[in-house]
Symmetry: none
Subunit: 186 residues, 4 copies
DNA sequence: GTATAAGCGAGACGGTACGTCAAGTCTTTTT
DNA sequence: AAAAAGACTTGACGTACCGTCTCGCTTATAC
């Protein structure tokens, strides 16, 4: 005998949060602003999410689904394709890099948000790990983990510090170096 | 012919900031608290630093100086030593990891702080880059950069996401994989 | 369709402001202290008043209502009664003199507050003016205004400079002199 | 073997204080601004005066000396002349009204300044009192005091509340009413 | 088919911290 | 010893957001 959750409000909140984070920078995102932009009461946000970070994370989960695991036949080829596609999704004014940086920051400052973010990260790691293991089954264990950390680590490092571009050349270099780690021809 | 800067206040601020960041978490660090703990007026902080991030960064610059570049004869050996020492400095209750995570977050949220932090990061990259190039001169260019990004990237990735430890085993694995990237015997 | 203004907070603010002004002196009244004493956020004060002066003025408006216009039959009698009652309200530890002095000071230093205070003053002048005109209709115009200014002026002058008491003897003297200005037998 | 007080600094401080008070309003007068405008260290101000109020009061003491007691033969004439001259000194952009208002406010808020200000006020009262007593010796006592309070009170009241002008017409009206209080022809 | 309880937009609320301003004091160097 | 310069501690300012809490309205069951 109760009213049901408004799908319209849910969408408006997700979209407003993402668009405000992109335009003004994640650091200037506020609950008041999101609520106002979405034409929604603040309580409606707090009723369904624990923080703005969770809202934004929700929007990214959908984005990431559009990344299929490639099949080129070689580790270097698969990595080049996967990393290239991942970088492409982040680049540009409509890319997710700005928002990802904000979420990473949030996870450092808000202990409540860190687990959700870690879970999101783990999902991405699982995909990359499976690519590595498909070509180098023997690497199972700390070596595969380290390779995954080196690849995604390099990506995040550049995304966060901005000392170099996340372009296809970088994707290729990373793929080549990772392949060599596991004995593919140099 | 005016009063000179108080060295006592400077030290008190640096020490209070670092100790509060370690005890309560960087996210709960406030200017009011630092000023109170240092027995200092807030204005004195704002007079000499642009934000708390800059204060904390100042304390870390001194810490990092204590890391000497190693000389073991092989790339893998040097990397193992360098990464191991770096990780050791970050570990534990008196380690710098908690504070580094906070600074990385700050750099994402505060555009004014990002350049200072990037400069700090670049100084660390320079040391690692020189180690790589000493052993593999031919890697000069994007390959050396990528190797540096993969190593420090993996470190930051684990520091930020906390999905794995920064211990000597990880240092060794990273060193071995990086050495293989550049043709050292496996 | 929003939450309505809290009557409880409104009263607590008015009472705290008045009581703090009386105990510590108007000059030491601070927004922080009023908010703390009232158990209220500062924003709640700023939401409804433009300055502490307006808050205190609000409490005085109610106080002043308790002064009825007298009817003794003569100008001198009415003035004696009216001024006597007015002075009495200001005297003593629970009197309003301390607070009135503070408001007068505020009006000099804060251009935004001056109009509100002038309006409050005019309301009081209107009462005294009507007493004068009831007995001396011919004084309408600058003479009545001047008489009002001389009576309230003398009161404020003593309140502000504190060179003489605001007692019933002074009320009587003022009343007598004002009556003579308008030809009542001496 | 000591340096003597700098007359140049003294003058610069007095002039800067007065001019800043007139241009920006007494309420916005600050010690920093006066010191900067006078090309003087803040300590030099604090060494010789207890507060900015005392500085400004010093400048006014000289101004007031330029008011000679008039001799027209009648109470009404003398009062008209005296009040007219007094009002004239206060009017206009170079008048002292703005500054006097500020000092009166200061005296209400700063207990340390009130005595100095009261002394200044009393000097002015003495002049007006002597005029009244010269023409109405019998008024000695509370009646003369009350008349002085009514005249200066009316002046201050208008100066502070700004509900009417301090012009020669008002001076005349006040003089006439005061004369009637003491039996001069109506 | 209507009562009723949850969802909702709105926005007031108690708090915490911000970054700024000015006060009055202290220290350094110069005159 | 007085002065210019300006750093220092202190304390209050007015603002921004936080997360919580009514308020009155809307709407989808469950009776």
């Amino acid at each position: 005998m109760a009213r049901t959750r408004s799908e319209q409000s849910r969408r408006a909140i997700l979209e407003s949060a993402l668009s405000l984070a992109r335009s003004g920078g994640y650091g200037k995102l506020t609950v008041d602003a999101v609520a106002a932009a979405a034409g929604v009461g603040k309580q409606t946000i707090y009723r369904w999410w624990r923080s703005l970070g969770e809202v934004v994370l929700d929007t990214l989960r959908e984005h990431a689904k559009s990344l299929p695991a490639p099949e080129t036949g070689s580790l270097e080829g698969d990595l080049t394709a996967f990393l290239g596609a991942t970088f492409r999704l982040q680049r540009g004014p409509n890319g997710t890099a700005e928002v990802l940086r904000g979420l990473m920051a949030e996870a450092q400052l808000d202990d409540g948000f860190a687990p959700s973010f870690a879970e999101f990260i783990e999902a991405r790691r699982a995909v990359l790990r499976s690519i590595v293991l498909r070509h180098v089954p023997a690497a199972r264990g700390s070596e595969a983990e380290a390779t995954v950390d080196m690849l995604f680590g390099a990506m995040w490092y550049r995304m966060l510090v901005k000392h170099g571009p996340l372009d296809s050349a970088f994707a290729q270099t990373l793929a080549a170096l990772a392949a060599r780690q596991h004995g593919e021809k140099r």
